[in-house]
Symmetry: C2
Subunit: 317 residues, 2 copies
DNA sequence: TTGTACGCGTTATCAG
DNA sequence: CTGATAACGCGTACAA
């Protein structure tokens, strides 16, 4: 019909007709079907977001900035939570692809789903995590740098026995942070105590148990470095349970802000990532890719995190 | 083709053919197009979620439970943030409808968008907020009850001068909570001091200013009742700035848990809503409606919130 | 400036 | 059990 033109290229339709059409549209409550339009245009104006958990402060802030900028460009977002579960991640990717999203923003856990996406020639941008030897667009932050900064701060405050609450070492951020920690320690000639390096799987409960045990053992650390906010919460609970005080009895620093960060006392010294940018950059990157699918060259963006010094890491004489 | 049958009704196709088809599917990386399927079936297997802000602890928990159960039923979710902005809300609703979502779960701010949805004969479930005299399915919690409980607790602790941080009184939960507060006060023969009832628009910054001022004035309240977590944070910050202590100098209770609720000291006495249920019930309700569109009767579910007593409201001699 | 025919990738409906 | 044909609601190309 002429209707289609009136909506998409109004300049090619007489003003009178356009008005008439608009009016009837109102009366009928007519809205063009994106699904029919998608079928012929081979574009759905949707993007899929695949991430671990929207309840996590870090990810919900990130998603928010993605949604905002996506909407600006006329895209609506599908959201899928994976809980770091490879199966769920794979399923989400499949579903999204079957819905013919124009592109996918993924905070991946498994290489498999990413490879699948690439084979499917989907438009993809990896976020927060990258895999070596894969040719994909990605946006992440410099975890190595952040960890170095945090470690250097603890060292500058006089800490030598530092406990680390890390993950299993399979994901990029985890590995990079640990590498950063190790580097800073080595640079300062401080030996790392094996028993003070603990894999808590990024889980609150494990961090709780671990910290409780570590702080009751002999030769206990004077400071703790937690790799994410969930483990930080576990650590804080353990410290509370033991009746210890931060930073008088034990110092604590961590990667990312904890929930309620701005009202919690003492203020926790931490590294903060530029979450907004992580969202807008990733979205723009994806949309550029969508609008330019044949481009071969890929881009990797690394944003710098920032050290926020507060009161949770005391100076040791 | 036979392909369609092989996927949808395998029993009507010979096992051999099905196997052959599956094999070729693998090789080609073929996935049926949901958009083409949607066009003919008039079902997209998607639902739209419209809510204020995914960064809000309450809403992201809620959304998570929605997404989980929706996925169980084979639905993928579109997520739209409105920031309580009627225009954005309207736009989101329009977009969602143009994408032909099978139904919409909305935490509405404006009646207009809801009316629009009803005129469009969309499948809708209202969440957290209801409008009088509208015939729609809805799930919310008993805000009146929660506020009564909280107020009664303060009164039982001996408080008479109670400051209230409320919203402008346009939304259902806001009005109900205030009504509950008023009821409990009246029942106990306590007079409400006008200057202690403040509209902070549910905003942290306004609550901060308000509390700072209120606590410096004469005849100041001995306890504060905040209507949501954002205002609670503002209140806590103000209390900190004034160098006061909770609950020694001022008692504080609030609706909903604050972020970091489980590590914040002192523990804040609050009312908690059954968020998971709010999500699963709403989703089930919507899906039932989708699968049974001609049903006329609507249902309104009201879930009971729970009072969680902690240490933030002290006993007055 | 407006109308017509065709195709997008499925499913539904008949035939075979 | 399998194949052919017509929709679904829109955009595109071309004709009027």
């Amino acid at each position: 019909m002429t209707v289609s033109r009136a909506l998409n290229t109004p300049q090619k339709v007489s003003a009178k007709t356009t008005r008439r059409i608009r009016k009837v549209m109102e009366e009928l409550g007519y809205q063009p079907s994106q699904v029919a339009r998608s079928l012929v245009k081979r574009r759905t104006n949707t993007i899929g977001i695949v991430m671990p958990d929207i309840k996590n402060t870090f990810f919900n802030s990130w998603f928010r900035s993605v949604e905002d900028s996506a909407r600006q460009f006329g895209y609506t977002t599908f959201l899928c939570n994976t809980d770091e579960n490879p199966d769920d991640e794979m399923k989400s990717v499949r579903t999204l692809l079957s819905h013919r999203v124009d592109g996918i923003l993924i905070v991946p856990h498994s290489e498999e789903s990413v490879r699948y996406l690439m084979r499917a020639k989907a438009n993809v941008v990896l976020v927060d995590r990258v895999f070596d030897s894969m040719n994909v667009d990605s946006v992440s932050t410099d975890h190595y740098y952040g960890a170095v900064k945090l470690t250097e701060h603890m060292i500058a405050q006089g800490h030598k026995r530092i406990g680390v609450l890390k993950g299993p070492g399979v994901l990029f951020p985890d590995r990079e942070r640990y590498r950063g920690f190790g580097h800073a320690m080595k640079e300062n000639g401080i030996e790392v105590v094996r028993e003070h390096i603990r894999n808590c799987e990024f889980k609150e409960s494990l961090a709780f148990d671990t910290v409780k045990e570590m702080l009751q053992a002999g030769n206990r650390p004077t400071a703790l470095f937690s790799f994410n906010s969930l483990m930080t919460i576990g650590a804080i609970k353990a410290i509370n349970v033991l009746g210890m005080k931060i930073p008088a009895d034990i110092s604590l620093v961590c990667y990312d802000a904890i929930p309620g960060n701005d009202i919690f006392t003492p203020g926790i010294t931490h590294v903060i990532q530029p979450i907004e940018e992580l969202g807008t950059d990733a979205t723009k990157m994806l949309i550029r890719r969508i609008e330019n699918p044949k481009r071969k060259a890929t881009e990797e963006i690394f944003l710098k995190p920032k050290l926020v010094i507060r009161e949770s890491c005391r100076k040791i004489p």
